[in-house]
């Protein structure tokens, strides 16, 4: 075992340690906190780099995977074991998380400079980074789950950072609860897995739950509806992933999570945390794809089919809703939802490498977009509604340039990072054996993505600057912006623009590591030798052309509606709204999903609460009261019985006895003559008796 594998635990431990130390620091130790967090992140980044190089040097095949397990605690005569693993998947994720995290840390120094709770913010960030790294390196589902929970906690803390603002607190609570539902399913799956395989370690020298022996055991048994156990467990764990990655049913918390500070959104709700769900599915991919030997290797199992369909629906849904949003961060949130849908679909149809490639690229350009939005908000002193912005091109040229690179990468403009990764997914979807529908949904989604990104671009950066004289409700504005005053928007300082530039560079260049021409990334993940060949490129060429056509179509539509005539009046209805007011309002309210949930689950909850309260108040309390009254009555009865019957009876008995004894004692009154009289009478009787006998 190499040094790096054994000491891999340092990567998550350092940020957590930094978080802990910062937690003890006082509010005014701002510089100390920031520097400590960034330092720990940097060291983790270098360690990850070392690990990445080590994995590269290992070569290919099964030996690529190295894990280190240790006994955690003993219950009964069994030892519960935990451990961490270093394989290409881990290496890539480590690299991505640490690098993006580092950039976000640097960015947030500038962004949060004016905030009072600066140190607390960095403490939470460090804690979050450590937990995320923990999830990545975990070789045991249990350790993964633990870090998973800490990640959920930190997301709650960070979303609700400005807890004074009630909307932020509500959003944090909502995020926490929704992910909690998913985690519950995840936990059930984990428990079921443990009960079946007896261990939670992924790779334990052949005995791990993801290894061949355990998988065959899981596959052979079937549960309800004929599903194999592996499928059941996989689906349960997928629910956890869906919750965390904001898939369709459990996505409602993601848009509301924008209440948190923008670096948070960038780091957590774009790059890392939401990606954790996808990483989890990638990690347990062998379980998902396990099937009885009779089926051919490539036929997708039921679990993967479910992943695919959920991914496709989420992608389409996210894209549709993003079109009708006014808040700059809310648009990006829905776009993240849509992209996560793409990733899930990629995993479902293409396999681990396809999904992971899009994840990595998405992490970079989405965090770029968020940070860009952050600097815009920072510049416009807290203004978030795109209708109040406009023409910022002149005021913030650097942010505008970086933002456009991110936007083009997101839309999948040819040769940008997004284009390659999204194309891989669409290619895999097109080649999907079962149905072609996911491909069409994906294509339409790509079109919509291009459309709403151009809409946003034109609203924010292009056109006349129609900032209102006085910004309406201050309440929900960020407190930082308020002190900023109302002078004209200005470019963000260097500490904020520098990460933007770095990210922009990556957003553009990252795609080339996984092109069909030289699929290094895919082979690296699959552990094969990368071969430079034109065959796959030529095969994928037509599909690439189709997707680029869609992108251009989207851009054109966007320019048609918003670019041609600059938006004069911020109050005027949106262009799309004029065309289709009804559909627009539906989209704007995200298909009324929140309202649906409120109407159903929340109301059910309240009713249940009322019912419980009523039940408790009347039934249980009543029962207790009646029982106590019963006991009281019983006691009173017993007392009554005791006094009147027992005592009275006993006294009466005693009196009769004493009276009887008194009368009897008269017989023995001590008068001798009395006795003698009696003897005389006895004599008489005796004589009579004798005579009577004699005469008879």
């Amino acid at each position: 075992m190499d040094w790096i594998v054994k000491n891999l635990w340092l990567v998550p431990a350092l940020p957590i340690l930094a978080g802990a130390i910062i937690a003890l620091a006082k509010q005014r130790h701002r510089v100390f906190a920031a520097s400590l967090a960034i330092a720990s992140m940097a060291v983790s980044f270098f360690l990850s780099l070392g690990a990445f190089v080590h994995v590269l040097s290992l070569g290919h095949g099964e030996s690529v995977r190295q894990s280190f397990n240790f006994n955690w605690f003993q219950f009964g005569n069994e030892w519960l074991k935990l451990g961490w693993i270093l394989d290409p998947l881990t290496a890539v994720m480590l690299l991505m998380v640490t690098f993006v995290g580092l950039l976000v840390f640097i960015f947030s120094i500038g962004y949060m400079a004016d905030d009072k709770n600066f140190t607390r913010f960095f403490c939470f960030l460090a804690l979050f980074a450590g937990a995320m790294l923990g999830v990545v390196i975990a070789n045991s589902l249990l350790l993964l789950f633990m870090c998973w929970e800490v990640v959920g906690l930190t997301s709650y803390l960070l979303i609700g950072f400005w807890y004074a603002n009630p909307r932020a607190a509500a959003a944090a609570k909502k995020a926490f609860l929704v992910t909690r539902i998913g985690d519950l399913a995840f936990f059930l799956g984990m428990a079921w897995l443990y009960s079946q395989t007896g261990t939670l370690l992924f790779f334990d020298g052949g005995a791990g739950c993801l290894e061949h022996s355990a998988l065959t055991a899981l596959v052979t048994h079937t549960t309800i509806f004929g599903l194999t156990i592996s499928t059941g467990i996989a689906l349960l764990i997928f629910c956890g992933a869906a919750g965390k990655s904001g898939q369709l049913p459990l996505h409602v918390w993601l848009p509301d999570a924008m209440e948190g500070p923008t670096p948070v959104s960038a780091l957590i709700h774009a790059a890392t945390m939401v990606a954790a769900g996808v990483f989890l599915i990638a990690r347990i991919y062998p379980l998902m794809s396990a099937h009885i030997a009779s089926l051919s290797v490539l036929t997708p199992t039921v679990a993967l089919q479910v992943v695919t369909w959920v991914g496709a629906c989420t992608a389409l849904f996210g894209a549709l809703v993003a079109v009708a949003q006014y808040d700059i961060k809310r648009i990006l949130a829905y776009s993240t939802v849509s992209q996560l849908g793409y990733m899930m679909m990629g995993l479902g149809v293409g396999g681990v490498s396809v999904g992971m490639f899009h994840l990595i690229t998405h992490a970079f350009f989405k965090s770029l977009l968020f940070l860009g939005a952050g600097s815009v908000i920072h510049g416009c002193s807290g203004e978030q509604d795109i209708r109040h912005m406009g023409g910022l091109r002149k005021f913030m040229p650097l942010t505008f340039a970086a933002y456009t690179c991110g936007m083009l990468a997101l839309c999948g403009f040819p040769l940008f990072a997004g284009f390659w990764s999204k194309d891989e997914i669409l290619h895999a979807a097109f080649a999907y054996s079962l149905t072609r529908v996911p491909f069409y949904m994906g294509a339409f989604g790509a079109l919509l993505t291009a459309f709403y990104m151009t809409r946003q671009l034109f609203y924010v950066f292009v056109g006349a600057s129609n900032r209102p004289a006085a910004p309406q409700d201050f309440a929900h504005e960020e407190p930082a912006a308020i002190e900023h005053g109302h002078h004209a928007p200005h470019e963000s300082p260097a500490v904020m623009t520098m990460p933007l530039v770095i990210l922009a560079v990556f957003a553009v260049l990252l795609g080339f590591m996984g092109t069909p021409l030289w699929p290094w990334f895919q082979s690296f993940l699959d552990g094969e030798h990368v071969i430079f060949s034109f065959a796959p490129f030529t095969a994928a060429l037509p599909l690439m052309l189709v997707s680029s056509l869609l992108v251009f179509l989207g851009l054109g539509l966007g320019w048609l509606l918003y670019g041609r005539k600059p938006i004069e009046d911020c109050e005027a209805p949106d262009a799309l709204e004029q065309v289709q007011p009804h559909i627009f309002s539906v989209l704007e309210h995200a298909f009324y999903v929140d309202q649906l949930y409120d109407a159903t689950i929340v109301r059910l909850n309240t009713w249940a609460a009322l019912l419980c309260d009523w039940l408790d108040r009347w039934i249980w309390n009543g029962a207790v009261q009646t029982f106590s009254h019963l006991v009281l009555a019983l006691a009173w009865l017993d007392n009554f019985f005791d006094i009147n019957v027992v005592n009275a009876g006993f006294d009466a008995g005693c009196q009769t006895v004493s009276r009887g004894s008194r009368t009897l004692s008269l017989l023995q009154a001590g008068r001798i003559q009395g006795y003698l009289r009696m003897i005389g009478l006895a004599l008489i009787v005796l004589v009579i008796f004798m005579l009577w006998g004699a005469r008879a």
Partner: protein
């Protein structure tokens, strides 16, 4: 039913009745002695001379005197203040009368009234002496023991306790 028997019986009955009914205890004792002498005469008439004379010797000589002494020593010699008879004298006498009636009835009904009178058995003191010494030797010893015990007992009971200061 000789005249002599009637006289003696009358004497006894009058003596005893007076003994039981007179107010003054001393008079009672004296009338009792009269009754007892009458009884002794009856014994003589029945031919038991020895028993008759012992009766007189023991009762008139000893018991009467003893009773008189007892009366003198318990200071009830004078005519008693309270009524001589106990409160429930009526029931007592009633019981006595009923007892007499029952006994009389028993006697008259039980025994056959045979008229034949067996000859007067001649008993000499020698015969009594022999019987005492032979057939009734054990009872004689026991009576001797009993009398000594009674003697000592009576003395002890009646003796004033030693702690009586003079």
């Amino acid at each position: 039913m000789t005249l002599f028997f009637l006289i003696a019986a009358a004497l006894t009955i009058v003596g005893t009745a007076a003994a039981m009914s007179l107010r003054n205890p001393i008079h009672c004792i004296l009338s009792l002695t009269l009754g007892l002498v009458g009884l002794a005469v009856l014994y003589l008439q029945l031919g038991a001379q020895f028993v008759g004379f012992t009766q007189v010797l023991v009762y008139v000589g000893a018991v009467a005197i003893l009773a008189v002494f007892a009366i003198m020593m318990t200071r009830s010699a004078g005519s008693p203040q309270q009524p001589a008879f106990s409160r429930s004298w009526l029931s007592g006498s009633a019981v006595a009368v009923v007892v007499f009636a029952v006994l009389a009835w028993a006697i008259s009904s039980a025994l056959p009234s045979t008229k034949i009178v067996p000859p007067q058995p001649a008993v000499s003191v020698n015969q009594i002496g022999d019987a005492l010494m032979h057939k009734f030797a054990l009872p004689l010893e026991i009576i001797g023991l009993l009398l000594t015990a009674a003697l000592i007992g009576a003395v002890i009971v009646a003796m004033p306790e030693r702690r009586e200061t003079p």
